[in-house]
């Protein structure tokens, strides 16, 4: 038997909501503490079990927004059911469903999951085609609603840092944050003093659980940084340029002075790849199982780590390569060059997909955010610029930094960290899909040495900084995605789960040649070969089977079907078609028209000097 959910006994629900609105701005740690207080286990904050426990506690009233029903348009399969459900159903016992019908879904949430761009006009379609299109559209809408409804399961909210009135968040020291947060979070801030083996590069594993770092003087180590359990520590007796985890924490690629080496998590050398020599930077594309290496010799090499083959070795023709990043959205590799350009590469093409002139001096660092919309670059001209990567490649904002940024990195939620000398600055944007605003830094932190590597930890509000004095893990509230996909990258997975995931990921490996600037373009029909095949078919058959039959006037009675009138009718139709064609061609070339319309108003005598 169902009954209406009772509001808490002493406080009516409305008042409760109002209070929630009026509540003073919380601090990041306040939320944390309440969470730990509510939860039973003292473990890490993201636990699916606890999410389930928390859910029923929420006041149900807050979800009800009848106006924001998404399915206002009639839907063929869904409508009748919904209509029936809307009126309160009477059960045998006489109890009434207080919330009849399916739960409402806010429009804007559902819109996030829409895939079909309805703004594009389609050419006229026949009824059979139209019915297919309608089915596809209805399906898409239904699916988007389902996806929006499942947003409810993402119970965790991102952390944040809010200054009191007029207080600059950049003035808040790490020590303050550590003091305020709970013990578990405070333990995530630590410093490793490793002055002996020079500046460090570091990398977190895709799940955010493991940390690998390599010192310039050969010190390589990997550890489970949450529990601080050391997995391996070796000295490769060679300069280490870069270090990167492969698809899981079990494999580790280290770019050493001479060649590229691959170690496992116990420090045993598995491979020495001699075809990748003098590598300066490493990037790993997890869905393609590709390890991209940029070398001093100017080659960008893609190594397929699942089969151990080199997929492509591309010559960038721009000298030494030491600035590289990946675009997580479309797996395109961005290279920064000394002539101020950034080039975009895919293993399928010998030439860069695009080249962008970003700085007057050489490019020092490049970073692309997780949505693939924004690219941050810093150059020798001490500028930090943010580019829009969606088609236009234009700078959105720029800022001159006192010493220029040598290292850049975007967090999962779009925070931008820049290492300048021994200072790390972090800028934040409005939300997830907005560029960071460079006016005011969100956080700053001074380190004991010069920054040599930056990496935001996935799924934890932590920024790892490698510098000449060791490693610093600093807390950056709101940096990481609060909800992780347990099937995709689960920080708490067991070894068995990891193995299973590995098999699945390998089965779903994306071919390297599918990397292109716009991945959505793959879902489009290859028009060029379509046209070509059509042409070939016409040649083979000798006629166009899909051509429109020429107009044949219908015979009419009472002497109106004379030859003259037939010809007249034919001509009428022909003329109309011709007019349409001309109109279309005119519409296609409006620019030429305008040019013709506005010639030079008054040619002056001085025009001859204008060149």
């Amino acid at each position: 038997m169902e009954t209406a959910p009772k509001p808490s006994k002493d406080v009516p629900p409305k008042k409760n909501r109002l209070q929630a609105k009026r509540k003073k701005p919380r601090r990041y740690w306040e939320e944390e503490t309440t969470l730990t207080a509510a939860g039973a286990s003292p473990g890490p904050p993201r636990n699916k079990k606890r999410n389930r426990e928390l859910r029923p506690q929420r006041p149900k009233n807050s979800y009800i927004a009848k106006k924001s029903r998404i399915s206002r348009k009639p839907q063929l399969p869904k409508k009748p059911r919904e209509g029936r459900n809307l009126e309160p159903q009477r059960s045998v016992s006489g109890a009434q469903d207080p919330f009849p019908g399916p739960a409402p879904v806010p429009v804007e949430v559902a819109r996030k999951f829409r895939r079909i761009d309805k703004s594009k006009k389609l050419p006229h379609s026949k009824s059979k085609t139209r019915s297919r299109l309608e089915v596809a559209e209805a399906e898409e809408e239904e699916i988007s609603i389902k996806a929006a409804r499942s947003e409810l399961l993402l119970a965790e909210e991102p952390g944040f840092l809010e200054g009191e009135d007029g207080e600059d968040t950049a003035k808040i020291h790490q020590a303050d944050i550590v003091e305020a947060v709970d013990i578990a979070s405070a333990a995530k801030h630590f410093d490793l003093n490793l002055r002996q083996f020079g500046p460090y590069r570091l990398n977190y594993s895709p799940t955010g659980r493991h940390l690998a770092f390599g010192g310039h003087r050969g010190h390589v180590a990997a550890l489970d940084w949450v529990t601080k359990r050391l997995m391996c520590e070796i000295n490769v007796m060679e300069a280490v340029r870069d270090i990167r985890f492969l698809h899981s924490e079990a494999l580790l690629a280290v770019a050493q002075n001479r060649w590229l080496h691959i170690y496992d998590n116990q420090g045993i050398e598995l491979h020495c790849i001699r075809r990748c020599d003098r590598v300066t930077r490493l990037e790993f594309l997890p869905f393609h199982f590709l390890l991209a290496t940029a070398s001093e010799t100017g080659f960008l090499t893609y190594l397929d780590v699942s089969v151990g083959k080199i997929v492509a070795a591309l010559n960038a023709r721009a000298g030494r390569l030491d600035v590289m990043t990946k675009n997580p959205y479309n797996a395109v590799i961005h290279l920064g060059h000394s002539n101020g350009t950034v080039s975009l590469w895919s293993p399928a093409m010998k030439e860069p997909l695009a080249k962008i002139l970003c700085h007057r001096g050489g490019v020092r660092a490049v970073a692309v955010d997780s949505t693939g919309m924004y690219m941050a670059t810093s150059g020798l001209d001490h500028q930090l610029k943010i580019f829009d990567l969606r088609g236009m490649f234009q700078p959105l904002s720029a800022r001159t930094l006192p010493q220029g940024a040598g290292h850049l990195d975007f967090s999962q939620r779009g925070l931008l960290a820049a290492g300048m000398g021994d200072v790390v600055n972090i800028w934040a944007g409005q939300g997830k899909a907005s560029p960071p605003s460079l006016e005011q830094p969100y956080l700053t932190h001074r380190l004991s040495g010069h920054v040599h590597g930056l990496h935001f930890c996935p799924f934890e509000d932590v920024l790892g900084v490698g510098h000449s004095g060791g490693i610093t893990s600093m807390l950056v509230p709101g940096a990481a995605e609060p909800n992780f996909d347990g099937l995709e990258s689960n920080p708490y997975r067991s070894q068995k789960q990891r193995q299973e995931w590995e098999v699945k990921a390998l089965l779903e490996k994306v071919p390297a040649e599918l990397i292109c600037l716009d991945p959505r373009a793959l879902a489009e029909v290859d028009v060029i070969s379509l046209e070509q095949e059509k042409k070939e078919r016409i040649e083979r058959l000798g006629y166009d089977p899909e051509a429109k039959a020429p107009f044949q006037p219908k015979p009419k009675q009472k002497g109106r079907s004379s030859t003259a009138s037939l010809v007249k009718r034919k001509r009428k139709v022909m003329d109309k078609e011709h007019r349409d064609k001309v109109r279309q061609s005119l519409e296609q070339q409006p620019q030429k028209q305008e040019k013709a319309k506005f010639p030079r108003a008054q040619p002056s005598a001085l025009d001859r000097f204008v060149r």
Partner: protein, 716 residues
């Protein structure tokens, strides 16, 4: 005309008594004449009748040849069969469009039995159940058999069948009555007799009077009410002025009145009635009316004022120059005059107590309040730009001179560098844009990045001394802008435009962006920080160092554009039709004739983006994975693309959605025979199938109807 030739007739010599000649008499001999006896006998009448019947019957036609008969049979059979089969069309269509088909078709109806039925067959077996049932039994709760008590059942049924029937009958009756009444009214309305209507009207009036009299005696209060009603009718009449000579009827009568006595009388009657109706009865209402007039005025005045004000504050101030000039004085005075709205309200409340007619006053006050508020906001807006400009002017004056010098330097350099020599005036703004940063202006500019500045505008700005454009220029947008409204600068030549683009590229990189006033400044820089001159020098140096970067990039881009352009095909054969030999070139005419120009391709994606080179080459490897054939019902690739835009993998969908998207098209049950569809399966009668089988079995045994059709066909 034919003349009958005169014939000479004489007795023939050959006349014999045995032969009979038909000559002479023009009559034909008919068989019946011979057969008929001299005397009519009844016995022969039968024979005659038979003979007549035989005669009336035509001869039996030849039977059609075999092929023809067969063809007709086939045709008929085809028609019949197709008719029988066409009944299945909707089912076939439905099955084709169905998202999923489940076989075998005949499935057991999963009975949606009401819970009562399910429970009635259920018995408590385990001791726990029995105990529970005992408890229920003791408390006289309904258990299995009637799950609900009769009372509950009755309450569940909101309306019984009988009740519903009664209600329906009632409604029907009401509807019928209404329709009768309407019909009667229509009929009566159609009657044209004036006399009838007059009598009717008079009758009504008389009746009303009588009723009123009666009512006065019986119930005086009701009578008073009636009187009031009449009075109200009079007032309505007065308001509407129906009885003045402005109606259609009255106008026509006015024309007739000159000649027709009756019409004149009718008119006079009407006027009299008008006078009677429009007579003012109460003297007291006079003052009231006056007040009303005042009221209206009071309402109107603030409205008009508001309108003007709205327009002046509105989006187009140019249209209302005159208005604003007119109202300016009023504006100037108003703010002082207007007292506090709060005070007004206080006074309002007092006034309300004082006299009842204060509503207009409150209305007026409200209007004034609104007006004052609007004006205040307008003043604020006016004040803002002033405050914005002030700091600009102070700082910019100092910097301007410095920048001028810088610009001249830059110009010299550029003139030397050759290709990018630009007029000095044009570069000035470029450099002047590199003014020192201003933190408070930055957000404002960033908020509207669409605003594009052309060179001319910037020049003007620079002359005025307020420039400070820290916005990052967007060449692409700018180009579009100029294209969109060429009206604004019709005189800009094309070449200039191109140069603009180049300038923009320069701007793109040289724009001085605001520097960070960071809290933590890197230690190495801290020593240098105070030496601003040095900083500036370094910056200039960097600016010059970057010059060749841009040139290189432009050169590279030009090459890429050239390389991507389709090449023309030259088919000239030197020496063909001309003198041949060393050093001879084919004539220009020939070259032109044999040059096949390839059509210009679509515009490059980076056409309006000076700082970008986008590779236009096709990714052949990716194209191999793309769809290259349109499936059947689609005629255009865009239609098909729309249907495949939603991903179906479980990575992008919820579990339920994934299952729905990947449901199999056909589901079969293992171990079950899939029988062909039957008419009963889809709710048809089985007749169609049976007569189809008849036709198929023996097409030669046709019914009478078919035979008739056959005959008709053969005749045709």
């Amino acid at each position: 005309m034919r003349w009958k030739l005169a014939e000479r007739s004489e007795a023939s010599l050959k006349v014999s008594e045995f032969s009979v000649t038909s000559e002479g008499s023009g009559e034909k001999l008919v068989l019946s004449d011979l057969l008929g006896p001299v005397k009519t006998s009844s016995s022969l009448a039968v024979v005659k009748k038979q003979l007549n019947r035989v005669k009336s019957k035509k001869t039996v036609e030849l039977p059609l040849n075999k092929e023809e008969v067969e063809r007709i049979h086939r045709e008929v059979a085809f028609n019949k069969t197709s008719q029988a089969l066409s009944k299945w069309d909707p089912i076939v269509l439905k099955n084709r469009q169905a998202e999923q088909l489940v076989f075998p078709l005949k499935k057991e109806q999963s009975a949606f039995a009401p819970i009562e039925h399910v429970l009635s067959g259920w018995k408590a077996r385990t001791p726990l159940e029995q105990e529970v049932f005992n408890l229920l039994h003791k408390n006289k709760q309904p258990m299995t058999d009637p799950l609900l008590t009769p009372v509950e059942k009755a309450s569940l049924k909101a309306m019984s069948l009988e009740e519903a029937k009664m209600r329906r009958a009632e409604l029907q009756r009401a509807r019928a009555l209404q329709s009768y009444y309407e019909a009667r009214a229509r009929r009566e309305k159609k009657i044209k007799s004036k006399k009838y209507h007059k009598v009717l009207k008079k009758g009504k009036a008389r009746k009303a009077l009588k009723d009123f009299e009666k009512l006065r005696k019986v119930n005086p209060t009701a009578a008073l009410e009636e009187l009031e009603k009449i009075e109200k009718a009079r007032m309505m009449e007065r308001m509407s002025l129906k009885h003045q000579n402005s109606g259609k009827w009255a106008k026509s009568k006015a024309i007739m009145a000159k000649y027709d006595l009756e019409a004149r009388q009718a008119m006079q009657e009407q006027l009299a009635r008008n006078k009677e109706l429009t007579q003012k009865l109460q003297v007291a209402s006079n003052s009231e009316e006056e007040e009303e007039g005042v009221e209206e005025e009071g309402d109107l005045v603030p409205d008009a004022v508001n309108e003007i004000q709205m327009d002046a504050d509105g989006p187009n101030p140019w249209m209302l120059r005159n208005h604003s000039r007119g109202t300016k004085e009023a504006k100037g005075q108003d703010p002082e005059q207007l007292p506090d709205p709060v005070a007004h309200e206080a006074s309002e409340s007092e006034e309300e107590e004082d006299r009842p007619g204060a509503e207009e006053e409150t209305l007026l006050n409200e209007f004034e309040e609104r007006r004052s508020l609007r004006r205040k906001s307008g003043l604020n807006q006016d004040a803002e730009p002033v405050s914005r400009q002030e700091p600009k002017d102070s700082s910019s004056q100092e910097v301007l001179s410095e920048l001028r010098a810088l610009a001249q330097k830059l110009n010299k350099e550029k003139n030397q560098s050759g290709k990018q020599n630009m007029s000095s005036t044009r570069t000035v703004p470029v450099v002047q844009r590199e003014g020192p940063p201003k933190a408070e202006e930055e957000p404002l500019l960033l908020q509207r990045p669409e605003r594009a500045h052309t060179v001319q505008e910037l020049e003007e700005l620079a002359k005025e001394g307020c420039f400070q454009n820290e916005e990052v220029p967007r060449p692409g947008r700018e180009g579009q802008q100029t294209e969109r409204n060429p009206n604004t600068q019709p005189g800009v030549p094309k070449e200039k435009k191109r140069k603009e683009q180049m300038i923009d590229l320069q701007n793109l990189l040289t724009t001085k962006s605001p520097s960070v006033k960071s809290l933590a400044i890197p230690t190495t820089v801290e020593e240098l920080e105070d030496e601003e001159e040095r900083d500036q020098k370094q910056m200039i140096k960097e600016a010059f160092a970057g010059d060749d970067v841009i040139r290189d990039f432009l050169k590279e881009k030009r090459e890429a554009v050239e390389a991507s352009k389709p090449k023309d095909v030259d088919l000239t054969l030197p020496g063909w039709g001309e003198w041949g030999g060393m050093g001879l070139k084919p004539s220009a005419k020939k070259r032109r004739r044999f040059l096949i120009k390839t059509p210009e391709g679509p515009p490059r994606k980076d056409k309006n983006l000076p700082n970008v080179i986008i590779n236009e080459k096709r990714n052949v490897h990716a194209a191999a994975h793309q769809v290259r054939v349109l499936p059947y019902p689609f005629t255009h690739h865009q239609q098909f693309e729309r249907t495949i835009q939603t991903p179906i993998g479980s990575t992008w969908n919820t579990q339920r959605a994934f299952q729905k998207l990947t449901t199999p098209k056909v589901v079969t049950k293992p171990g079950h025979i899939i029988k062909p569809i039957k008419a009963e399966d889809v709710g048809y009668r089985s007749s169609s199938r049976s007569d189809l089988s008849v036709v198929q079995r023996n097409p030669k045994q046709l019914s009478i109807r078919h035979k008739k059709q056959l005959k008709k066909n053969s005749v045709d």
